[in-house]
C-alpha cells in the first residue's frame, strides 16, 4: 500500500473528502441495520468503490477489510467451465461477472443462489443477510440483467446486492427501479486539487497550487489518475516546479499522434498507417469506445469548427455501428476515412475561396 492512491484511500464514511452530505445519508442508511439494494454509478475514478467499502465497514466493522482473493468455478448448461476471481471477506463477496463475457448470466444465477440459500441458523451473531458486490454491471448482457431482476426480489430476505457501474443508461429500468441509485459524481477540479495538496502535506512535500490545478485538469476529474500523475511527477523531479511536465498515459499521446497524422495528410496510404496504429491500440487492450471518444476529442481540438457538426455526426453514426458490430477496426477506420474525406473537402473549398 505504498502508492498514494492506495495509501490515502479513505476507509470510513466520515473521512470521505467530498460528497459529504451523501456520505452522511449513507451512514444514516446503515443505522437501521438494513439497507435496500444499492446501485452506485459514476465515472471512473470518482470513488464508487471506496464509498461502497466504507459503507460495508460502517455496517460490519473492520472485518470487511480482511479480504482474500479466491477463484470460483462454475459450469454452464453447455458444460463449459468458467472461472471467476472473487474478492471476499466474511461478510461480503465481490465479483465482476462481465469477466466471463456472455456467460455472465450463469455466474449471477449460481452465485446469488449459492449465497442466498445458505442462511445462517444463528441469527444473533450476524446480519440477517449477506452482501454481494457486483462490479461493472453496465457491461452485463441483457440476459444477465433480466436474471438479476427476479433474483433481486426473490432473495431479498437473505442477501443484498451492491451494484457498481459507470453509467446507468445501459442498465434496464427494471433493475434501476429495484435499487436505490446513488450517483457518485466526479470530484471537481478544486476538490482534486485540495486532496492532492493535503496528501502531499502528509508525505512531507510541498505542492505548488498551480501544479496541483494543472494535474487536476489534466486528469479529467479522475481522482485516481490525478494521484498517480502527481506521484509520477514527484518521482520525475522532486522539488516541484509549477510548470513541470506532467506524465500522461501513453495511449492518450498515441491517439493524439493519430489525430495529427490524419490532419496532415489525407490519403489511402495514411489510412493504412493509421490502421496499423488502431491495431496497436486494440492490442494494448484499450477499449474501442474509449479510443473512439478520445480520438473524437482530439480531432475536434485540432480541426476547424466549421466541420465539427459533420464530424460529430459521422462519429455518432459509426460509434453506434461499433457498438452493434463485432469487428472494431472496421468502424474505427470507416470513421477515420470519413473524417479525412470531410476534412479534405473542407480544405478544397477553402482553397477555392482563396
Amino acid at each position: 500500500m505504498s502508492l498514494w492512491a492506495d495509501k490515502y484511500r479513505p476507509k470510513d464514511l466520515q473521512k470521505l473528502d467530498y460528497h459529504k452530505e451523501q456520505a452522511a445519508n449513507l451512514s444514516k442508511l446503515t443505522q437501521e441495520g438494513d439497507f435496500p439494494h444499492l446501485l452506485f454509478y459514476g465515472p471512473c475514478g470518482s470513488g464508487k468503490k471506496t464509498r461502497m467499502m466504507c459503507l460495508l465497514k460502517e455496517m460490519y466493522g473492520p472485518g470487511v477489510e480482511r479480504l482474500k482473493v479466491e477463484n470460483m468455478n462454475f459450469t454452464t448448461p453447455s458444460n463449459k467451465k468458467l472461472e471467476v476471481t472473487t474478492v471476499s471477506s466474511s461478510y461480503h463477496i465481490e465479483v465482476n461477472p462481465s469477466d466471463v463475457g456472455i456467460y455472465d448470466r450463469v455466474i449471477i444465477m449460481n452465485l446469488i443462489k449459492n449465497v442466498a440459500q445458505t442462511q445462517q441458523l444463528d441469527i444473533n451473531g450476524q446480519r440477517a443477510f449477506k452482501v454481494i458486490v457486483l462490479t461493472n454491471v453496465d457491461e452485463l448482457t441483457k440476459d444477465a440483467q433480466h436474471a438479476l431482476r427476479r433474483t433481486m426480489e426473490k432473495y431479498i430476505s437473505t442477501c443484498r446486492l451492491l451494484l457498481c457501474g459507470t453509467s446507468i443508461s445501459r442498465i434496464i429500468p427494471a433493475i434501476r427501479s429495484r435499487c436505490l441509485c446513488i450517483r457518485v459524481a466526479a470530484p471537481s477540479i478544486e476538490q482534486i486539487s485540495t486532496i492532492l495538496q493535503t496528501i502531499c502535506k502528509k508525505e512531507g512535500l510541498t505542492l505548488p497550487l498551480e501544479l496541483a490545478d494543472r494535474i487536476a485538469i489534466k486528469s479529467n476529474r479522475n481522482l485516481r489518475r490525478a494521484l498517480l500523475m502527481c506521484e509520477a511527477c514527484k518521482v520525475e523531479s522532486y522539488p516541484f516546479t509549477p510548470d513541470q511536465e506532467i506524465e500522461e498515459p501513453d495511449w492518450q499521446i498515441f491517439i493524439k499522434h493519430i489525430a495529427n497524422k490524419a490532419i496532415k495528410e489525407q490519403s489511402i496510404s495514411t489510412l493504412a498507417e493509421i490502421r496499423e496504429r488502431f491495431y496497436e491500440l486494440i492490442i494494448h487492450g484499450i477499449p474501442s469506445d474509449i479510443i473512439f471518444k478520445t480520438l473524437l476529442k482530439e480531432l475536434l481540438k485540432i480541426s476547424d469548427p466549421e466541420i465539427h457538426p459533420q464530424i460529430v455526426e459521422s462519429a455518432a453514426f459509426y460509434e453506434h455501428r461499433l457498438q452493434t458490430g463485432s469487428k472494431d477496426i472496421f468502424h474505427l477506420e470507416a470513421f477515420m476515412a470519413k473524417f479525412m474525406c470531410i476534412y479534405s473537402q473542407f480544405l478544397g473549398e477553402f482553397v477555392d475561396i482563396c
Binding site: Q22, N25, L29, T30, Q31, G33, D34, P36, P43, S46, Y60, G61, K68, E70, T86, S88, S90, I93, N114, V115, I123, G125, Q126, R127, A128, K130, A147, R149, T151, S157, S167, I168, S169, R176, S177, R178, L180, C181, I182, R183, A186, N220, R221, F292, K293, L296, K297, L300, K301, P305, H308, P309, V312, E313, A315, A316, E319, H320, Q323, T324
Partner: protein
C-alpha cells in the same frame, strides 16, 4: 467463498469490541411499500374504470374470462388481477394462482409441464370454510411479451383445452408482441397511465401512514418524474425516506438523486453552450457525464424540456426532435454517451445558428 458462506457471523468476542454491530438491536424486515400498499380489492384499483367495472361484474357472477392486460409499467395490471383473485377465492387465493414471469424459465417445455400439472388439479367449488367459490384456477403470465413466439404458440391450445378448470391472465406492456391467436382468445383490457392527481393522493396517503415528512413540492416533482408509473412513485418515496432517515424532511434534491433526474439547470447550461461553439458543447457534455447524469435520462428530459421552451420556434423544435430520436435510438443500442450527446449538441447548434443567419 467457503469461509464467506460459512462464517458470515461475527465471532462473539469481536462483536463486543465492534462498535457498529452493537448498535444494532433489532432487525425489522421492511416490506417494500409497493407490496404493502397494493390494492386489496378490485374497486380499490385507481383510474382503470373500464377494467374495474367489467371485473366487478365478473366477480359478482363468480366467473372470469381469459384476460389480457396491457399497458405501461406501474399502472396496476398485476395488482388488479391479484386483487380480483383475492376477492374470488378469499384467503386461499395463493393456492389457486400460478404466477410465471420472464425471469423464470419459460421455454415451451416449462409452459407445458407447469401449466398442465397445475391445470390438472381440480378446484373444488367450496372453500374450506364452507363458502362457495368459483371452481377454477388462474394462471398469471407476467411479462408475456417477452415470451418467444413458439412458446406463445404452444400456449394457445393449452388455453382452450383447460378452459374448464383454468383461466389465463396474460400481462404485457406491448400488445403488439402477443401473437394474434392468443389475443383473440382473451378479453383485452388496456391500462392507461395513472393520472397525476391519483398518484399524488396515494403518495400523500402513504406518507401519512408511514409518518414520512415531506417538503411541499416533493410530491409534484415525484409525480412529474415518474410519468404515471405508480410503482416507481412509491419506490421513489420509500428510497428517499430510507436515505433521509426517520425524522428528517425529504427535500427535492433527494428526489432528484434517487430518481436520477437531471436538474433543469443543466438543460439551460447545455443550450447556452450550444449557442456558442461545438467545442463548448463538448466541454459541457463532458461535465454532464462527469456529474454522472445518465445520458438516456438526459435525452428523455431534454425532450420534455424542449417542447416547453418559448424562445425556440416550432420548426427548430422539429429539427432537434428529429435528432433526438436518432440519438435516443443509438443510446438504446449501447452507443457511447459522450459521442451521442455531442451529436445532439451539434445538431442543436446547427439549428440555432441557422436562425441567427
Amino acid at each position: 467463498m467457503q469461509s464467506f458462506l460459512k462464517s458470515g457471523k461475527l465471532s462473539n468476542s469481536s462483536e463486543k469490541s465492534d462498535p457498529s454491530t452493537s448498535k444494532v438491536v433489532k432487525k425489522n424486515q421492511t416490506t417494500p411499500w409497493v407490496e404493502k400498499y397494493r390494492p386489496k380489492t378490485v374497486s380499490e384499483v385507481v383510474e382503470q374504470n373500464e377494467v374495474v367495472a367489467v371485473l366487478q361484474q365478473c366477480i359478482d357472477g363468480a366467473d372470469l374470462p381469459n384476460l389480457l392486460f396491457y399497458g405501461p409499467p406501474g399502472t396496476g395490471k398485476t395488482s388488479t388481477i391479484l386483487a380480483a383473485a383475492r376477492q374470488l377465492f378469499g384467503d386461499m387465493y395463493k393456492d389457486r394462482i400460478l404466477e410465471l414471469n420472464a425471469s423464470d424459465e419459460r421455454g415451451i417445455q416449462v409452459i407445458r409441464e407447469k401449466v398442465r400439472t397445475f391445470a390438472q388439479l381440480t378446484a373444488s367449488h367450496i372453500r374450506p370454510d364452507g363458502k362457495p367459490c368459483p371452481p377454477f384456477k388462474i394462471v398469471i403470465l407476467d411479462e408475456a411479451d417477452s415470451m418467444t413466439n413458439s412458446a406463445q404458440a404452444s400456449l394457445r391450445r393449452t388455453i382452450e383445452k383447460n378452459i374448464k378448470s383454468t383461466r389465463f391472465c396474460l400481462i404485457c406492456n406491448y400488445v403488439s408482441r402477443i401473437i394474434e391467436p392468443i389475443t383473440s382468445r382473451c378479453t383485452k383490457f388496456q391500462f392507461k397511465p395513472i393520472h397525476e392527481n391519483m398518484i399524488m393522493k396515494r403518495l400523500q396517503f402513504i406518507c401519512k401512514e408511514e409518518g414520512v415528512l415531506c417538503e411541499e413540492d416533493v410530491f409534484n416533482v415525484v409525480v412529474s418524474a415518474v410519468g404515471g408509473d405508480m410503482r416507481r412513485a412509491i419506490t421513489c418515496l420509500q428510497s428517499c425516506s430510507r436515505l433521509r432517515g426517520k425524522n428528517e424532511q425529504i427535500n427535492i434534491n433527494d428526489v432528484y438523486e434517487v430518481t436520477g433526474i437531471v436538474p433543469e439547470k443543466w438543460f439551460n447550461d447545455y443550450i447556452e453552450a450550444c449557442k456558442k461553439e461545438p467545442k463548448d458543447v463538448a466541454d459541457m457534455v463532458d461535465t454532464i457525464l462527469l456529474e454522472a447524469y445518465p445520458a438516456s435520462q438526459f435525452v428523455e428530459q431534454f425532450n420534455d424540456w424542449l417542447i416547453n421552451q418559448e424562445n425556440i420556434s416550432d420548426k427548430q423544435k422539429a429539427l432537434i426532435g428529429n435528432k433526438l430520436g436518432v440519438v435516443s435510438f443509438h443510446l438504446q443500442e449501447g452507443g457511447s454517451e459522450f459521442v451521442q450527446l455531442l451529436d445532439l449538441g451539434c445538431a442543436v447548434w446547427k439549428v440555432l445558428s441557422k436562425k441567427e443567419k
